[in-house]
C-alpha cells in the first residue's frame, strides 16, 4: 500500500518505516514560526519550562507582522518581548521594521521554507507553504514553545482528500476563486483534521502565486494542511531562493485517500464568500447589489506581486468610487519595491488608494483599515467571521484581487467584466 505526499513527508521526519492515517507520531521540525501575537505566549512557556536555548537558531522564524508598525503600547511591548528573545537566542530568521513582510508571503519569498520541509507555525495560515510541496500546519503557542525547545512536535497523521481539478480557468478566475469554491462545496469543516491534496491538469498549470493562495485557505475548510506535489513551476520558484537542500516528494500511485473530489474548473466564475463564513460562497454574478465602504487588497492570501499586477490592470486610469476606501497592502518589502519599480503604486495612488506598509493589521481587525458599525468591505483576505475586520456588526466579503479592484471602482461587489 502506497503513501500520500503528506504521509511521506511526515514519515521522513521520524525514524518510522511505515506510517498510516490516525497514527500519533513525534516528528522533527524544519522551521518553527511565530509572530508578535503568538510568540509572546510561546516565549513565556519556553522560559517557564526552563528553556535556555532554542533547539536550532536557524530553524526558528520570528516575524513581527500582525500589529506592526506598532499600533499601541501593548503591541509595542509584545514586539519588544519577541525582539529580546530573538536577540538573546541569535535567531537567524527574525524580521521587523523595514525587513518585515506578512509572514506567509515572506518565508517562501526568502527561501526559508522549502519543498519536503516539515513546518509548524503558531499561525493558522502556516498551511500556505503546502504550495511548495512541504508539510506545513498551524499550531498554538504552546506547540511553538515545545518545538523551539526540542525541535520536535506531536502530530496525528491526517488522512487525505484528493482534489482533481481539470479544465481551463476563465479570464479573471484565479486560485483564490478555486479555493473559495472548494470551501463553499465542502464547508468550513469539510476537511477537518485532514490533508487537502490538489492535483489535476488545472493545478499542473497553476502559477505559484495561485497555489500559495489555495494552500493558504486549506484551514478555512478545517484542514490540517493543503499540499501540491512539487513540479517544474515549484523548481523555478524555489531554485533561486533556496540556501539549503530541499526534496521533492510525490504521492504513490496506490496511495489511499479518504475521498477523491473532481472539479471542473472551466465552468467557474469569480467567487465571493458572503458574511460570515468563508464557505458562504456565490458566483460574483449572483452577488446582487452589495454596496461597499472599503476594498482591501493584500494579506497572506493575495498580497503578492501577481495580485497587485491584476489589481493595477483593472485600476489603471480609474478611481475608487466616491465613499469607497481602497487599501492596498503589498505583502513584503520586496513586493512593495517591485510594485514601485513596475509603476503599480502610481496606478494605485492615481486610483486614490491608500498604500499600507506590509502588515496583517487590517485583515484581522487589528489596525490600518478597521470597519465601523454597519460597514461592508470586500477583501482579498481569508476570513469573514463576525467582527473579523472591526465592529461586530460590520461585514466582510472575500474575493480575488480582480473582483476587489472592480468592486472598488464600481462601489459595489462587481465582476471586472462589468467595467
Amino acid at each position: 500500500m502506497g503513501n500520500t505526499i503528506t504521509e511521506k513527508i511526515l514519515m521522513a521526519h521520524t525514524d518510522l518505516k511505515e506510517i498510516a492515517p490516525g497514527q500519533l507520531i513525534n516528528a522533527h521540525v524544519d522551521i518553527a514560526l511565530g509572530n508578535d501575537i503568538t510568540a509572546p505566549i510561546a516565549i513565556s512557556e519556553f522560559r517557564a519550562a526552563g528553556g535556555k536555548k532554542v533547539f536550532d537558531k536557524d530553524k526558528v522564524a520570528l516575524v513581527l507582522d500582525h500589529f506592526t508598525p506598532n499600533k499601541d503600547i501593548n503591541s509595542a511591548q509584545q514586539c519588544k518581548t519577541v525582539r529580546e528573545f530573538a536577540m538573546e537566542h541569535g535567531v537567524t530568521h527574525f524580521f521587523e521594521g523595514g525587513q518585515v513582510g506578512v509572514e506567509h508571503a515572506l518565508l517562501p519569498e526568502k527561501g526559508i521554507v522549502l519543498p519536503g520541509d516539515l513546518i509548524i507555525g503558531a499561525d493558522s495560515h502556516t498551511c500556505t507553504y503546502g504550495a511548495l510541496g512541504a508539510f506545513a500546519t498551524g499550531v498554538g503557542s504552546t506547540d511553538l514553545a515545545a518545538a523551539m525547545l526540542t525541535g520536535e512536535l506531536w502530530f496525528k497523521v491526517p488522512s487525505s482528500i484528493k482534489f482533481v481539478v481539470y479544465g481551463k480557468l476563465a479570464k479573471w478566475v484565479s486560485g483564490k476563486d478555486l479555493i473559495l469554491s472548494v470551501v463553499g462545496r465542502i464547508g468550513v469543516d469539510g476537511a477537518l483534521y485532514q490533508a487537502m491534496e490538489f492535483t489535476g491538469e488545472t493545478i499542473s498549470n497553476l502559477p505559484m502565486a495561485d497555489r500559495l493562495s489555495m494552500a493558504n485557505m486549506a484551514i478555512e475548510a478545517g484542514a490540517k494542511n493543503g499540499i501540491f506535489a512539487p513540479d517544474a513551476i515549484t523548481e523555478e520558484y524555489v531554485k533561486p531562493r533556496a540556501k539549503r537542500p530541499y526534496k521533492f516528494y510525490a504521492s504513490d500511485a496506490d496511495a489511499v485517500y479518504a475521498d477523491v473530489i473532481e472539479i471542473d474548473a472551466s465552468k467557474l466564475e469569480p467567487q465571493v464568500a458572503f458574511p460570515h463564513l468563508p464557505s458562504n460562497v456565490k458566483g460574483v454574478s449572483q452577488a446582487g447589489n452589495v454596496k461597499i465602504d472599503q476594498a482591501l487588497i493584500g494579506s497572506c492570501t493575495n498580497g503578492r506581486i501577481e495580485d497587485l499586477r491584476i489589481a493595477a490592470q483593472i485600476l489603471k486610469n480609474r478611481k475608487a468610487a466616491p465613499g469607497v476606501r481602497l487599501i492596498v497592502v503589498p505583502a513584503t518589502p520586496f513586493i512593495y519595491k517591485q510594485a514601485l519599480q513596475e509603476g503599480l503604486l502610481e496606478i494605485f495612488m492615481d486610483a486614490e488608494a491608500v498604500i499600507s506598509p506590509p502588515s496583517c493589521g487590517a485583515c484581522l481587525g487589528g489596525h490600518l483599515g478597521i470597519l465601523a458599525e454597519g460597514e461592508k468591505s470586500v477583501a482579498t483576505t481569508n476570513r469573514n467571521f463576525v467582527g473579523r475586520m472591526g465592529h461586530p456588526k460590520s461585514e466582510v466579503y472575500l474575493a480575488s484581487p480582480a473582483v476587489a479592484a472592480a468592486s472598488a471602482v464600481l462601489g459595489r461587489i462587481a465582476s471586472p467584466e462589468e467595467l
Binding site: 500519533l24 501575537i37 503568538t38 509572546p40 505566549i41 513565556s44 512557556e45 517557564a48 519550562a49 526552563g50 500582525h66 500589529f67 499600533k71 499601541d72 501593548n74 503591541s75 509584545q78 507555525g121 503558531a122 499561525d123 493558522s124 502556516t126 498551524g138 499550531v139 498554538g140 503557542s141 504552546t142 506547540d143 514553545a145 515545545a146 525547545l149 526540542t150 506531536w154 468550513v188 469543516d189 477537518l192 483534521y193 484551514i219 478545517g222 490540517k224 463564513l277 484581522l364 481587525g365 487589528g366 476570513r383 467571521f385 463576525v386 467582527g387 473579523r388 461586530p392
Partner: protein, 161 residues
C-alpha cells in the same frame, strides 16, 4: 473528574475571533482576555456567566485562527470545560496543550437547552442533564491526550520525558 455547572449553548462554527476578538490580542494576560471571552458571539456572556459554568458548542468549535488566547480566555473566565459536537483541530491541540478540559458528544448537543445544569463525569464518560435521568456518552479521549492532561499540559509532559 466531575464537572458540574450551568450550560451556555452556542451554535456551529464558533470561531476564535468570536471567542476572543483580535482587537484584544495586544495582550496575553489571562485576566484581560477573560473580560472579553465570547464577546462577539454573546456580548453579555462574561457578565452573566458564573465560574464553573460549561460552554456547549455544535460542530467545529474553535475554528479559524490558531490563537491560544481563545482557550486561555475561556479558562481564565472560569469556564470549567467545553463540550461540543466537534472541535477545530488547532483549538483541540491548544486546549489539551494548555489544560482546558474539552469533550466531544454528538447526541448531547441536540438534547440540551441553555441554562440547564449538567454533570459531566470524565472518568465514566457520561453527561447527565440535571433533574432528569437523561444520560449521554462522551467520546473517549485518546490515551496520549489523557497523558497530556495527567502531566498538566504539553510543556510539563515534555519536562517529564
Amino acid at each position: 473528574m466531575i464537572f458540574k455547572g450551568k450550560v451556555w449553548k452556542f451554535g456551529d462554527n464558533i470561531d476564535t475571533d468570536a471567542i476572543i476578538p483580535a482587537r484584544y490580542l495586544n495582550t496575553s494576560d489571562p485576566r484581560e482576555l477573560a473580560k472579553h471571552c465570547m464577546e462577539d458571539a454573546d456580548p453579555d456572556f462574561v457578565t452573566r456567566m458564573k465560574p464553573g459554568d460549561i460552554i456547549v458548542g455544535g460542530e467545529n468549535f474553535g475554528c479559524g485562527s490558531s490563537r491560544e488566547h481563545a482557550p486561555i480566555a475561556i479558562k481564565a473566565a472560569g469556564i470549567s470545560c467545553v463540550v461540543a459536537k466537534s472541535f477545530a483541530r488547532i483549538f483541540y491541540r491548544n486546549a489539551f496543550n494548555m489544560g482546558l478540559p474539552i469533550f466531544e458528544s454528538r447526541e448531547f448537543f441536540d438534547a440540551i437547552t441553555e441554562g440547564r445544569e449538567i454533570t459531566l463525569d470524565s472518568i465514566r464518560g457520561i453527561i447527565t442533564i440535571g433533574g432528569t435521568d437523561q444520560k449521554f456518552p462522551i467520546s473517549p479521549i485518546p490515551p496520549f491526550m489523557e497523558q497530556l492532561i495527567a502531566d498538566g499540559g504539553l510543556m510539563k509532559h515534555i519536562a517529564k520525558k
